[in-house]
Symmetry: C2
Subunit: 182 residues, 2 copies
Amino acid sequence: MSFTELPLEKAFMLLEPGPVILVTTRDAKRDNIMTISWHMVLDFTPSFALRTGPWNHSYEALRKHKECVIAIPTIDLAETVVSIGDCSGVEVDKFNRFDLTPLPASVIHAPLIAECLACIECRVTDYVKKHGIFILDGIRAWIDPARKERRTFHANGDGTFVTDGRKINLRRFMKDKVPPGV
Amino acid sequence: MSFTELPLEKAFMLLEPGPVILVTTRDAKRDNIMTISWHMVLDFTPSFALRTGPWNHSYEALRKHKECVIAIPTIDLAETVVSIGDCSGVEVDKFNRFDLTPLPASVIHAPLIAECLACIECRVTDYVKKHGIFILDGIRAWIDPARKERRTFHANGDGTFVTDGRKINLRRFMKDKVPPGV
């Protein structure tokens, strides 16, 4: 568990496939983690959208402190990730309960998660209240190049998940849709 | 290629895993199809967010006619799906060029795609101009129960894609996070 910097123009690639992600926040009391599948890429700079609301304890910290870390878990962490989503930061110190290691981020106060494949430090630049959508700017990204397990997983919504399978290269069908630097 | 109705409360499950999707629109001239990975679930009713803008030919039809069909392709269609994303509906009749079969939807004018695993008829209920986000309400959903290939695929953003792998059941770790009806 040792992060090296990932060029920011590649950071959107972590969310583009739609995996289950973790989002860390820090407020005065303690660090918190939420599990979420409701996210999408908005552009390659990178910026992201995240759908959550007041029913989620992290919502307050996102609105107040306007920053978070997106962390990408892999399938060896699947049970932990789902369990993180099944309890609330109101009652639980999630780093402690799930034996995860908070690492200091470089720019923001919310922590990286050492056990994850990659992390993106993000600033909340807007909140679309009408639809409960947070707008995030990714400002620095980290990846663990030595990690053996690199397969992420995707929620089906019914308590089952699908793990990454075979990789296929279709770049020859994309004349001009691959952004610079990736 | 024969669709039967999918209960609407299960329709969010088609987008929850974050696959590459197709979106059909109809305007006065002809039907069009776009390929997109920038989508997320907003709630279980279901409603969805879709990020696109004026650079995409489908944008005008979405804004004007306020409806579309989300179609879920599987890995046997991967080359077609990527090629659809690599040309513009301004010049190309995509159903014709890619030998896809438009089927009439039940409520809206944009067509279903017979070759896909599933389709969701959607109304555009809002457009968040500042961030280029379309808000969609799913109003009727269809699935092909007989289709053999059911694995979807996910974009990595660099012209490679990851196919669905193994399914894991973690429902035992989710006490109350599975919505009714799924």
